[in-house]
Every structure is written in structure tokens, then in C-alpha cells.
Amino acid sequence: MKQKISGLYQKDGTKSVLAALISIIIGLAVGSLIILAVGVANPTLGLTGAWDGIRLVFVGILSTGRDAAGALTFGFNPTSVGNMLFRATPLILTGLSVAVAFKTGLFNIGAPGQYLMGTAATLIIALSIPSDVVPTWLIWWLAFLGGALAGALWGCIPGLVKAFLNINEVLACIMTNWIAANLVTWVFDGSNYRNLVENTKSGYIYKTSFNGVETAKLGLDKLFPNSQVNGGILVAIVIAILMYVLMTKTTLGYELKACGSNRHAARYAGIRDKRNIVLSMAIAGALSGAAAALYYLSGNTEFFWSTYQSLPATGFNGIPVALLAASNPIAVIFTGCFMSMLDIVGLQLTNLTAYNEYITDVIIATIVYLSAFTLVIKTFLSGRKKRKAQAARAQAVPEEAPKPDAAEGKGGDGV
């Protein structure tokens, strides 16, 4: 039994999980410290206020508000969980986008641009096909696939540039991000998808609920009443599983990883390295595009089209999601949910305490830094294990400490 546990400990996967957990706990601890510091410094909050904040940081997802006496109450809160799943949906997909590229040796920092192109394609398809002629489910699928395709094509660009001109994909990704931001703004600026009806708001595109092309709830609204969750989360989970299978079980995954790990050896083995680099980036782009599609097809989200000055955070947040998951597609499901849980925690802090959601930004930032260090933590974990073994041996050895004289004899001439 003990052996089994230590065997588990030695497994790389276990170390990755431990490293991620350590990053998360440190992140939450740092957030708590800040809450404590602010609380102590601020007489209206005080220690009790800080204690409320800290509890929310750790288990905010289970918060059910305050009771009559004003104390925080906890329990299963289906609305929060549902909202968490809803917000996790695009994060899981952009996380996958970054993770799959990582596995094939590429750093896809272009997820925001691919996400934007996916957004544009999805909304244009969803809003322009007349829903009184074409069944809405068909429009939904066309819009979803269109979004993924647009992301894929956008991802291809850095892929092509890398494969044929040997220009680093990070550079090309950054450039294509901003091209996408300007392109999308320009396209919608002149379009008639702008929501001019609800004129209390300006700068937004119609929601897809406008013409009924919204993601089916698939009964999830019953499970998590009053939340925004819909079938998109199931689609994201299925895609994550497909990616896992693709990367670990198929010849295509083998080829992609071979190219990423050693392009020369892949070429030597007759693998078309250029094609595979482009393909990796296309898959990554498709995932980011799909992230956007699922988010904006939900029916209750609005796109602020004037994006030329900023890139969507969902795209960048794919990076910590992937890092925390050590690029394992299945783990991405959980790290995506975790990141969106922090969002919910931020809302709870704002709603229930005098703190605001920016605390969670600090937590996320800490975790992002630490997740880049997961490798270091992993090495540390293996090192500790070794040192333990060493210490154990050192205790057993003393009686037979090295005898220099014997060594002299051995080291002499002849055998």
C-alpha cells in the first residue's frame, strides 16, 4: 500500500497536480493576506470583516448570502455554480487552445485575436441567416463552426509564417492579435448588427437571443436555477476529452508532438513538419474561435464591438489555465472552472462585503506568476523526495564509512 502511494507520488502527473495545488493555495493565501491587511487598517472592516472576506475567498462559491443576523451563510448555491460553469466554458476552450499548442512546442499567445475573429464570424453568421427560414439549431451549428473556422484560419497565419519563414510564432501572434482587434472593429462599425434598438446602451452588437439562435439549456437551467449556464459547458468538456484523445492516442497527436519536440527528427522520419506546425496553430485557433462562439451564442452576452484598443481577457487567461493544468487537456476542464470560480468569488466579495472583485485579480495574478513556476515547484518536489532518500541512507551508512586504506589497496597497480 505504502509502495503504491510512493509510486503515485513519483508519477509525473501527480507532481503536476501537486504543483498546481500549491500555486493555487499560495495564491489564495496571498489574497487572504491582503484582505487581512486592508481589514486591519480599516476600522469599518476590522478583523470580523476581514474574516468574512477570507472565508469568501476560499469558499465563496458556496456562499448563500447573509442571514437575518448579518452573518455569512454557506451551503450549495446552484446559481453560483451554474454561473461558474457558464464562465468556465470559454476559458476551458482558450485554455485548451494554449495547451494544445504548448504540447506541440508552440506558444499560442494569439488566442485573443483568434477569439475575436471567432466572435465576429459567429455573430455575423448567427445574425445574418434569417431564422424564420432556416431552423435555429442549424444556424447555431453554422455559427459555431463558422467561429471555429475563423479562429482556425487566423491561427494559421502565425503557423504559416513560422513554418515557411521561420519567424517566431510569438511575434506573429502579437501582430495578428492587433490586426484582428482593428479588423473586427472596422467590420462592425459599418454593419447593421449594431444594437440601436435598446438605445440605453451604445457600442453593443445584438444578443443572439434577438433572433432565437441561442445555445440550448439542455436541462442545466433546472439543475442550476437562476444561472446563465447552458449546454455550452458540455460542448467544452466533450472537446477537451476529444483533445486528450487526439494528443495521446492518435498518430496525428504523435506527429504533432514529434514536430513540436524535435522538428528535425520529425522530418527525418518523413513527417511533414511544415504542415504540422500550421495544423497545430489551426487547431489552437479553432479552439479559441470555438470559445468565442460558445460565449456569444449563449444568448445573454453582448459584444462590445469597438475593441481596437483592447484585447479580450478570455484569450490571455487561457495561458494560466493551460499552465496550471500542465497542458493536460483533461486538467484544463478543472483549471478553467477554478479560474471562473475566482470570478464568482469576486462578485460575492463585492456584493456581500466592503471588499471588491479586484482582490481576485490579485489572486489570479499571483497564480499566473506561480503557474509559470510550476516546473520549478515540480523539480523542488522531486528534489525533496531524493533528499529524503539520501537522509535515510546516510543514517544507515555510518558503520561502513569509507575506508581510505582499502581504497588505496584497490587503486594500486594491476588487477
Partner: protein
């Protein structure tokens, strides 16, 4: 305090997952001697030296310098003790200049500014004194391996190291460079520096060392005086059984033409000139044809042109009756297996497991995949068979990460993979580079066995011994052309040397063998 032994490593034990790389090893280095460390690939030589250099911490044992116990936690500690190391795989920064690489980590500064001028003077003086010619302002990526090694040596000298470790320094050198290195080492020893020298090449060890310590599979076998021993007994000690140093083979019975090369030219990567110019030859079933020559005379490019890694710029290549001049690497692979020159660049995906590497050329075959899904069980079984049959040693069998395997076993894995593909033509480029006699014996006998099964073997080798003993026909390459065809039975090493140096040729450009 002057002790006879400057360094003593006593009862060193170092484990890696699944393998004890050093098991209770004791090594004593005398002041001013050249001490050779001999052992098969994976015997633990590099590991032992890495322990001395502070790269690994041993689980047991101690190190003494001048009789005092010392703790070496990292290479900085080692440097402080005057220990320097030239690694098997050089550790230079490609984009830095030679000078920067030499002073890196030991920079002299004044008020935080680099004092490059002084450093340059010191390096120039050292380079002059030992005849270590380097171009201080060239970038490392632009210089030859031989010069890179001189840079590594200068790095040690610059740090005033008195204990110098050379981990397989000759594996990457041309015969002439090897002679120069030997002279340099003797010079160091004369000045009282103590040298640890790792090599597989028994003739080098016989030529340069004072004493030899032999390791086998992580264990200490013994230490002998070089003048009291000979090559045969050293190799027996190292392998643990009598070794056949000469290749055992019957005369070739060449059959049909398998590979027919006509007027092949291949462009050079960097220069305008052809690296391979108008080369023609044939390889038949059941013969081993060897391309001999000094490194850098177009052999690499010739192989790239044949295997498709580089485009041919002229001429025609016919393999098994099919014109493959413009075929893809994959298509050529249908009739050709290729043991590449650079096992880390082309031969292996180092971060993949051994089993993943063993199917690198075959994962597309129905035996290993169904509808695009890899058959895990079949891959595992196949890997286990190859590992067993070709005696590939590693810590964790099929799931060992290739990077953690010793160089010799990495090479064995490649040989296993390529030979087992059963293709009519085997292109083997320096298949025994850096390997120990046991492994060389094995690989040579494999190639001869493949020949006897009716395969055509095209061997590219820089080792004269290998060329003379293994080939049935020799083609000599000089400056991108084939300058002569020789019969190993009637030719001498001296004559071969003349062709290789370009002093003699029997074919004019355009009318080659």
C-alpha cells in the same frame, strides 16, 4: 600538503531512477598524471565525472582533494577547487562570441564594468602558449566542433584549473585534431596538471595515458598501468568477456544494383559552391560500400541528398529501379533505412520515450495503428522485442525518456529501429561514433549480417580502421567529389590517407567510378 593523489573519489554511489549509475566506485588521480577512464557506454563514466564536477550529488561516498574531504555542491565549488570539465556535449552559448564564452561566469570586472581587454590578453596568451588556435571574435555557432572544443579547453585554462576532465573529447574530432589534442594533454601533464580522460578508443588510451581505470555497468573493475597492459586485455576487462576486435566476415557476393547515383549534386547550405558535385556510384545487394573522407568533404550533404533531407540540385538517384530524385523523405523511406549522423538532431525525439522512438519510422503502419489510433499494446510489445534483441539498456525499459539514456544505448536504439525495418538499402552514417568496443563489435556484426542477408549497405565513416575492416569497396570523397575507388583488400591505410587528403585521385571530375 603534497599528497601523491591530488583527487580521491572514494566509494561513490550515484543512483538514477531504475539504475545505479555508479556503485561504490573508487578513483584516485595522481598529481601530474593522465588517468584514463574506460568503460562501455552507460558504464557510468560521465556520471562519475559529473559528481566530481558538482553536477550530481552522490548518495554515498566522499571526495578528497590533497587528502582533505571536500564537498562539491555545484560547478562553482568545483571551479574553486581548480576542477574543470570539457563535457561530452559541449556547453557553449551559440550566439555568444568565443571570448564571451570563455570568460562567462569568471568575468573580471571593475566597478561593475567588464574588463574585456585584460581577459582578451590572458586568453590570447593561453592560446598562444598551448597552440590552441581559436578565433576570439567569431560566434560559437559559426566555428567547427574542433574549435569549439579548444574553446572549452581554454575555458578551463582561463579559470586556472589544475584538474582537467575530458569527457570523450576525441569522439567529435578528425584524426589530425585528435593528434593535436593528445599533444596538448601531454603538455598539460608535463606542467603538473592532472588529467582525467574518458575515451572508448583503446589506441588513444594506450598512446596518451599513464594509468587506466575500468568501469563496467556502474561498478569498479580495476586500475592498471598503461605500460603493463594492451588493447585486447583492456577491452576484455571493460566488456567482461573476450572481444573480437577485428571484423569477422566472408568475401562479399554482390548481386543486383540497389542504389544507382548518377551525376548527383547537392548545394551547400552556406556557400555558393556545390557541397556535392557530380557524384556517381552504385551500391549492390550484398555489399558494404564505404564513403571515406575527412569530415566536411560533402559526405553529410551526399547523405542528405540521398535521403531527401536536402534537395538535390542535379543528377539522378535510382533506388530499387525507381527514380527517387524528387521523392519525399517518406517515399524514399519505403526502400531505405537511415542511421543518421547526428543522433540527437535527427535520430531521436529526446523527450519521447524509448518505445515512442522505436516506432518513429513505423507508427503509420497498420501493425501499430488502426484508423489513426495508435495501438499501444502492439507498440509496447514491439519495443520490448527490440530492446531484448538488440540489448538496449535503459533505466525503465520502454518508458524511459530517451534523453536520460547513455549515448551508446541511444545509438543502439536507432540501430535497432533502422535495421529492423528490413529495407533493401541501409544508409549508415558514422554508426559507431562515440561507442565502446563492445557496442562497435555488435554494430559491425549487425551490418555484416544485414549484408549477408542480401541488403545493400552504404556506410559513411571517418574512422580509417572502420573503413578498412568493414567495407567491401571504398569510395573516397574529397571536396565534394569522389576521387577514387579502392579495394580494402589491396590498399593500405597510407594510400587511403593520400586520397583523403586530396594528394591523389584516379577519377577526373565527370568520369567517376
Amino acid at each position: 600538503m603534497e599528497t601523491e593523489n591530488i583527487i580521491e573519489m572514494l566509494h561513490i554511489t550515484k543512483e538514477f531512477p531504475g539504475i545505479i549509475a555508479n556503485d561504490d566506485i573508487t578513483l584516485q588521480l595522481r598529481r601530474g598524471e593522465i588517468h584514463a577512464l574506460l568503460g562501455e557506454n552507460g558504464a557510468g563514466k560521465s556520471t562519475l565525472m559529473s559528481v566530481l564536477f558538482g553536477l550530481y550529488q552522490p548518495e554515498a561516498g566522499e571526495i578528497r582533494k590533497n587528502g582533505q574531504v571536500v564537498k562539491i555542491h555545484n560547478p562553482n565549488d568545483a571551479t574553486a577547487l581548480g576542477i574543470g570539465m570539457v563535457h561530452q556535449h559541449f556547453k557553449l552559448i551559440d550566439v555568444f562570441t568565443v571570448l564571451d564564452n570563455i570568460i562567462l561566469g569568471a568575468e573580471t570586472t571593475k566597478l561593475g564594468f567588464l574588463q574585456k581587454k585584460e581577459a582578451r590578453k590572458k586568453v590570447e596568451a593561453l592560446s598562444e602558449r598551448y597552440g590552441l588556435k581559436v578565433d576570439l571574435d567569431a560566434k560559437v555557432e559559426d566555428i567547427t566542433v574542433g574549435m569549439q572544443q579548444r574553446v572549452e579547453i581554454l575555458k578551463m585554462l582561463y579559470r586556472d584549473n589544475e584538474i582537467l576532465i575530458f569527457d570523450e573529447p576525441t569522439a567529435v574530432l578528425t584524426p589530425q585534431e585528435i593528434d593535436e589534442l593528445m599533444d596538448t594533454m601531454r603538455e598539460f601533464a608535463k606542467e603538473g596538471k592532472s588529467i582525467l580522460f574518458i575515451s572508448h578508443k583503446l589506441n588513444e588510451i594506450m598512446a596518451v595515458s599513464d594509468r587506466v581505470t575500468v568501469l563496467r555497468k556502474g561498478k569498479y573493475v580495476g586500475t592498471v598501468n598503461t605500460k603493463d597492459t594492451d588493447q585486447q586485455s583492456l577491452s576484455n576487462m571493460m566488456v567482461g568477456r573476450p572481444v573480437q576486435l577485428k571484423v569477422d566476415k566472408t568475401p562479399a557476393k554482390p548481386g543486383d544494383v540497389v542504389l544507382d547515383v548518377k551525376g548527383l549534386s547537392v548545394h551547400a547550405r552556406t556557400r555558393k559552391k556545390d557541397a556535392v558535385h557530380d557524384v556517381s556510384f552504385q551500391v549492390r545487394k550484398g555489399e558494404i560500400v564505404c564513403i571515406a573522407g575527412i569530415d566536411g568533404n560533402g559526405q553529410t550533404e551526399l547523405v542528405y541528398g540521398l535521403t531527401g533531407l536536402e534537395k538535390c540540385s542535379g543528377g539522378a538517384v535510382t533506388l530499387c529501379g525507381k527514380d527517387i530524385s524528387h521523392a519525399s523523405i517518406h517515399q524514399r523511406g519505403e526502400n531505405m533505412s537511415h542511421i543518421p549522423e547526428d543522433r540527437h538532431k535527427h535520430g531521436l525525439v529526446l523527450d519521447f520515450t524509448l518505445e515512442q522512438n522505436l516506432v518513429l519510422q513505423r507508427y503509420r503502419e497498420p501493425e501499430f495503428q488502426h484508423l489513426g489510433f495508435i495501438k499501444k499494446g502492439a507498440v509496447r510489445q514491439y519495443a520490448e522485442r527490440l530492446i531484448e534483441q538488440y540489448d538496449v539498456r535503459s533505466g525503465q525499459g520502454p518508458v524511459t525518456i530517451a534523453r536520460s539514456m547513455s549515448g551508446g544505448n541511444q545509438q543502439k536504439a536507432i540501430i535497432a529501429r533502422e535495421v529492423d525495418r528490413d529495407k533493401p538499402l541501409i544508409v549508415a552514417v558514422q554508426p559507431t561514433r562515440g561507442l565502446d568496443v563492445g557496442a562497435i563489435e555488435y554494430i559491425h556484426s549487425q551490418l555484416v549480417a544485414e549484408r549477408d542477408k542480401g541488403r545493400a549497405v552504404l556506410l559513411v565513416s571517418l574512422e580509417l580502421d572502420e573503413v578498412m575492416s568493414l567495407s567491401d569497396r571504398i569510395l573516397v570523397m574529397y571536396e565534394g567529389e569522389i576521387v577514387g575507388e579502392l579495394d580494402p583488400a589491396t590498399t593500405t591505410v597510407q594510400e587511403l590517407g593520400l586520397y583523403m587528403a586530396g594528394a591523389k585521385r584516379t577519377t577526373k571530375a565527370g568520369e567517376q567510378a
